[in-house]
Symmetry: C4
Subunit: 219 residues, 4 copies
């Protein structure tokens, strides 16, 4: 039984490091958002007003946090269905992570620009365009998986594949729409980004209990 | 033996990525706190005084570190009793992480405001309200687990469930109390937050050695 | 069967923590790069111009992200072929991580210096020298593995060893060349660094599906 | 075979999350050190001088990086010998992490203060005192493990226990010595901290190949 010999060493999943690295990037991108929240020293006279006055920053914080949370959920849904991570998935994953870790920049910019009508329009469009690029990178990653079915675990059904496609693809259209909307109504567009993020998280599905061990016991 | 076939691939726990992402967020939130510690260039003339003068920042650092440490311990106590992570747990976990990674902001604010009586009151109330929201998110996560017992591993006892509930629920009341106290005595409330954090960590329980392998050997 | 007794406890790979720590450092180094992106308050009048004006920062961001991504891929390619992590690998890995987590500094400097011809030359040489040191640390790590073949898993072939050597060694020469080029043409050198990073990622190979379980089933 | 039933779920080591959280904190603490490196805008005229002028920051960066690296190695050496993580180990680990993630503050202060003789003395003493506290926390963690031998895996020998004690305890004395030295000769003390860190890493031992599988095959 030569397989036994290396049992302890082979037991980790081939993609575990790609997941660990990605989880790190997602977690840091999401946590760095807090660095854009601060009340200027001058607001100490009336701190309550100073805190409330930061509302665009809270909105931007929540929107980007929930958006990245939704991308993490989609990333998790994809990777737990993979048997291994081939060269193309690795590259597209790196591209996705690059777009995700860029997000704190347009997030901070949008919050900073909110009190100037012209700047706000530009900042909200820039923010939307960044989210659009993240969605495209995510869709490209998923598409490259679907095109090469031997990447997927054998138990993944056609139905699951369609469900993931249906949950990730429409966001591209929504972000195009929201970004066009930002040209005319940046405030409405900013709210729309938050709604897209909330809906994405609401549509995500958790894990299911691994049925195999029980099944094999029954056998 | 079809189960065998995918043995190497199925061996990771279904919730391991949710844990990894959460650990990342907790670890970063806790480590970013240090960024609020710095001595102004002007204090270089009398650096010893400059360092000592930062005491409110050290207090805020320790309070938030120990508070987040306590939340991490509770999170760990919950997740190691789960069989899998369903949709609702995932969402509530994301909400919990959002409130935790927000904490460096009120922490920095509280330290910054400490030398101005009015600002301090507001900052300490804001800090307490943030901690309260974290506790509520944690309790909601645990409640959603308890309500759906098939989420829990079969070996988890009623007693363990009650113990976790008893360790997490009172904090909500304590934070309400401390935040009300902050209206009248912000300094006392600030000390109270530290005491709550210390008691939470003191009440947390470590892991126990997995008894199964030995037990099955004896059999 | 005494081995069985500790099965659950021995199942993790001996190098898993070294990987986890390294993944953390890589992920943070890559995500901290975003902190160098910001538009000054004064650019709010013409934010579109302000955003476009930051192009050297985007270039530096992308170059360093892709470079670190390529190093992570090489690190992963090395570590998944290891049986364990000996003392020397641990030390060289720590050295590699120290050079990698240093990179946000020369990256920010290069972006900052781009509008001053003299400063740019120095900054680009400094950036190239930093990348050169990272490559040397990576090559030293790989060399120390190759010199001690019992570090490698038994299934690793001579061909794989040569392939990794061929993918990592030339970068040292390329970074020497690019850094010398920076003396005369800093702009061209900056572009060259990006090309080296892209080629490194393009040459990296993903994981392959673990063949063992199937093989043993066939037997 | 009831043990089989939960095989997939029990396979992770009970302390894996404590390790993951700790790795995150170590990795972030080490990577945040780079944020203290920056060349002021005014140095762009003579950037080479500006970069060289930052030498105290590089020294502080290297010293703290290698110190934290050494603590990580010691932490890893302790945790891979544990069977599980009890309540006291969890608490002491949290204390250790709190002291480690504090280090970027005294590190930055020491680099900042180096050009003012009085400030330097205070900053170097403060830095040394911080390192001393980290060493004490680490020794306390190890001591609490040694006092409760059932925490240790059965295969850990008396010799290994003594070796870890011998590698970690002397640092307390060295840091006391270096901190006293800083009263009279801060520059020498700063160099001494680096030497202590280098010696700690040099004395650390890597992993050994898990002998069990081979042994059981031979049987």
């Amino acid at each position: 039984m030569p397989r036994r010999k290396r049992e302890g060493m082979e037991s980790r999943w081939a993609g575990s490091r790609t997941e660990a690295f990605s989880d790190g990037v997602f977690a840091i991108a999401v946590t760095l958002l807090v660095l854009d929240l601060h009340v200027p020293e001058s607001a100490m006279n009336d701190l309550l007003h100073g805190i409330v006055h930061q509302w665009p920053n809270y909105l931007a914080y929540a929107t980007s946090f929930i958006t990245i949370g939704g991308i993490w959920l989609a990333h998790h849904a994809i990777f737990r269905r993979l048997r291994y991570v081939n060269t193309q998935v690795m590259r597209l994953n790196l591209l996705l992570l690059m777009t995700v870790s860029f997000l704190p920049f347009p997030t901070g910019l949008a919050a900073q620009a909110v009190r100037d009508e012209n700047a706000e329009r530009v900042a909200v469009i820039f923010y939307g365009a960044s989210l659009l690029i993240v969605s495209v990178a995510l869709a490209a990653l998923w598409r490259s998986v679907v095109r090469d079915p031997k990447l997927l675990r054998p138990e993944v059904t056609e139905q699951e594949i369609r469900a993931i496609t249906n949950r990730s693809t429409p966001n591209i259209g929504l972000y195009v729409g929201a970004t066009v909307l930002a040209l005319f109504a940046p405030n409405a567009a900013a709210g729309f980004y938050l709604v897209i993020a909330l809906v994405t998280v609401a549509r995500a599905r958790g894990d299911t209990p691994a049925p195999e061990p029980e099944a094999s016991l029954a056998a």
